[in-house]
Amino acid sequence: MGVLRRVRNLWRRDRLDAEIEEELRSHVEMAVEDAVRAGTPPQEARRSARLRFGDPLATRERTVEADAVTALGSLARDLRDALRRLRRSPGFTTTAVITLALGIGATTAIFTLVQQVMLRSLPVAQPEQLWRIGRDVSCCYSTRYNQDDWNLFSWEAYRYFRAGTPGFENLAAFQIGVGNAELAVRRAGSPAPAQTGIGEYVSGNFFDTLGISAWRGRLFTDADDQDGAPPAAVMSFHTWQQQYGSDPSVIGATYQFNGHAFTIVGITPPGFFGAKVAASDMPDFWMPLTTEPLIAGGTSRLRNPRLAWLNLIGRIRSGTNPKTLEAQLQVELHQWLGSHVGDMTPHERALWQTQSLHLTPGGAGVSLMREEYEKDLWLLLLAALCVLLVACANIANLLLARGMKDRPQTALLAALGASRARLVLKALVESLTLAVFGAVAGIAVAYAGARLILHLAIIGPEWIPVDAHPSIPVLLFALGLSLLTGVAFGIAPAWMTARADPIEALHGASRSTGGNRYWAPKMLVIVQAAVSVVLLSAAAMLGQSLSNLKHQNFGFDSSGRYLVSIDTKTSNYRQDQLVPLYQEIEERLRSFPDVHSVGSVLEAPMAGWVWPHDIRIEGKPEPGLKEDDSSGWTRVTPGFFETLGDQIVMGRPIAEEDNATTRPVAVINEAFAKKFFGKENPIGQHFGPTPRKNAGMYEIVGVARDVVFAGNAEPMYFLPEAQRTEFDEPESEEREVWSHYLYNTVIWAPGNPPGLEARVRKALADIDPHLLVSGVRPYSEVIDAVFAQQDMMASLMWLFGALGLVLAAVGLYGVTAYGVEQRTSEIGVRMALGADRGSVVAMVLRGAFWQVGIGLALGIPAAIGAGYLIANRLFGVTPWDPLMLLGSTVLLGLAALIAAFIPARRAASADPVRALRSE
């Protein structure tokens, strides 16, 4: 038989079935009526009618067969039945599907991100064979011989491991940060301005180890990763497509990377993004490790054994036990460290033998993104599940109410001999059908939602290796979720309807409303209220925390200030060109009539990173091993303090006279003064970075008020751009060189000057068209961007909280309205006996608020618990903040009032006479 015919019969049979059922029922009822009319007691009449009828199901089946329609499985029939019932009540179905779509959609959206960020393997060959060294993920480099859990390695250490570990079929190294790899890329001979790009230095066997092959051209090998080899680079497919228009002439062409010629030898396959997973700075280009000195020049890390900046990932040889391999690597680490005892600090010498490493599965790559978002995503998933729970409760309530209405019908089915299991199954099939519809709609919601979260909240416009498209695991998750929810919200109503009493049905009564029969809907409302309070208070706490973060005292006022980001290092300026360049830039900007002042800084407060140094004060004793002797530091031009509004409380700021011809000076902040000098006057004192011999390096000429650079007002010192000192320690020397490439210029131009950003860009382009300007932004925007993740958390929590609240209110409304409807006659009696409208409203509201009250009693402790769960994400908010709890309670109370007042008023406006007549 053709499929089409089968399907048609399915429909046909469904219709016939219902008809036959009705026909048979009307038969029984007519028989009962006649018997009663003839004087038989109704009870007896019914019993004998049923007895006479024999086995009703068998009759029905035989009747159906007589209709010569193909029999199909009863499950399929239940499904048709369910679809018909759902189609028959479009209001109910629409409400339920939308509710479910929101619940399942929210949960699936978050799960999409959870899956992408936490559960996904790299798109490479046999990722399960990949192992990485290191348990934690840290960025971006270390300058110490002690890391506890070693995950960053120098080039020398990498080569040592690679040569001595046969347990790895291949061991590759790649850069986890972007230092020395921020590129200005220009096609050789092209007049077009350079484009910025992110590079990543990798070992020659990197692609081999991951087991990928070129999409176009070739990927480089160890032969390219050698001194003297012509510089080669590989471009990512994404970059090739998005920025180079999939131009085939890119392959084999020469490009200038920060002024150095590289040949693009090939393109990686689509979807491949390397072994690093991060929310920013994903590589556009891969370059061999040995090209690093070419680009980095004086700040090169390659040959410094102390500078650990590479992550190691290897393909394990089949048959090798990872435990054994780990033990061997451990031995190798100690052997390698042992060869460097000579250049360790005393502190490191005391600790190097306790160093250890861990071999961990590397199939998912090394994920900075995971480190950053894992906890937040789990939290969001939890919140989304709470919303889903509230949604399920609503649908359960709808189904319950409908089940009550359909009781007579269900009871009749029971009277006709349908088993309870059969009835439960029938009801479950319906709720599961509903859930699957919800899931389908939910997947659409999830796709849009995940994209929205990615687009708006997590990251900026940059490309990141996260795909919001629903993948197979996501689809399976949504399906599983829908089945789970279908059972969750379907089981109680199914069970309750299955308990339908046949006798009651034949009484034809739907009014018998024993008070405690409706405990289930009330319970559900209580749960909804409790969950909503938890969501709302979590949202309130995160929102307040975000606001505290944004409005904390940073020590400066961002209003009227603008931040220009200029990448002079990537633009390939020489050290000796920098001072005149910044002077020219600042003079040019200062000449704008609406600009008050201009100053430059290595990385501006709240806009970047602070380098720490361990400090030695001249004339003070060497600090103990455990003592914290570090301070942050940065480099500025003379206008910096005035432009930022950072007040000098003692001495003087950095000035024009602090240049190459005068003695090296520093301005410190109050925290520095307090930490190292206590109540002493710091002016005129000398200090320097470790070791002791540098202690006389800088003379303190001023003290500035504390400004928050990165999270806290920590000790800081400020050095003049125009001064340069020499270090014997390579990493201090590297930073010294690096620190002269000031990345930020701050402009103070109050009063919203029109078109300032465009004018600034033009001025900079006039100075040097090849200067890479990565942004001109209002300072407040920069600060907001710092808290983007907290912003996302707070916004999504609010969204979930609002969703939960609305659903809970709808649930309360439904239950109250249903209760009022059931009690119409009771209310009629009360009013007939003299109760006024006010007291009826009060009575209904009292009932509703009892439920909300119990919900609050459960929800508030749970909210406090949730507060402790998110305590480490809160800034200036305690987990049991009474104001937040009160706020959420009031919000819920208001919503409940509205939800309960509408049915209450309807109850009060009931006509007592009519209500009584229906009795």
Binding site: E22, S26, H27, E29, R52, D55, T59
Partner: protein, 108 residues
């Protein structure tokens, strides 16, 4: 002869009932047969409905939903032209059957 079984008899009773009473629902048919036979014949519902539906499939009866005097929805059956012709044939067949049975009983 195959038609002259008990099922054939039930068909005949139903067709005859409908030809006498015009439109009737299943319950009415059962009641009529019972009353007309002075309660000698008791139609089992378990056989009646399959028979009705089979006859409908064969085109002997047609059905429609209508309200009873007491306002209840019920499925009413009526004879079609084909049903009338079938009744003639069935009556003839029944007479044949009765004759045959009598003859056997007489000479047995």
């Amino acid at each position: 002869m195959a038609r002259n079984d008990l099922q054939g008899s039930l068909d005949l009773l139903v067709l005859k009932t409908l030809s006498q009473r015009g439109k009737l629902h299943g319950y009415g048919i059962a009641v009529h047969i019972q009353q007309a036979s002075s309660a000698l014949l008791n139609v089992e519902e378990g056989s009646l409905y399959p028979a009705l539906h089979r006859m409908e499939q064969s085109g002997w009866v047609a059905s429609e939903w209508a309200l009873t005097e007491t306002g209840r929805r019920a499925k009413y059956y009526r004879l079609t032209g084909a049903g009338r012709r079938r009744l003639e044939v069935a009556l003839g067949e029944f007479e044949e059957l009765v004759k045959g049975v009598r003859a056997v009983l007489r000479y047995a």
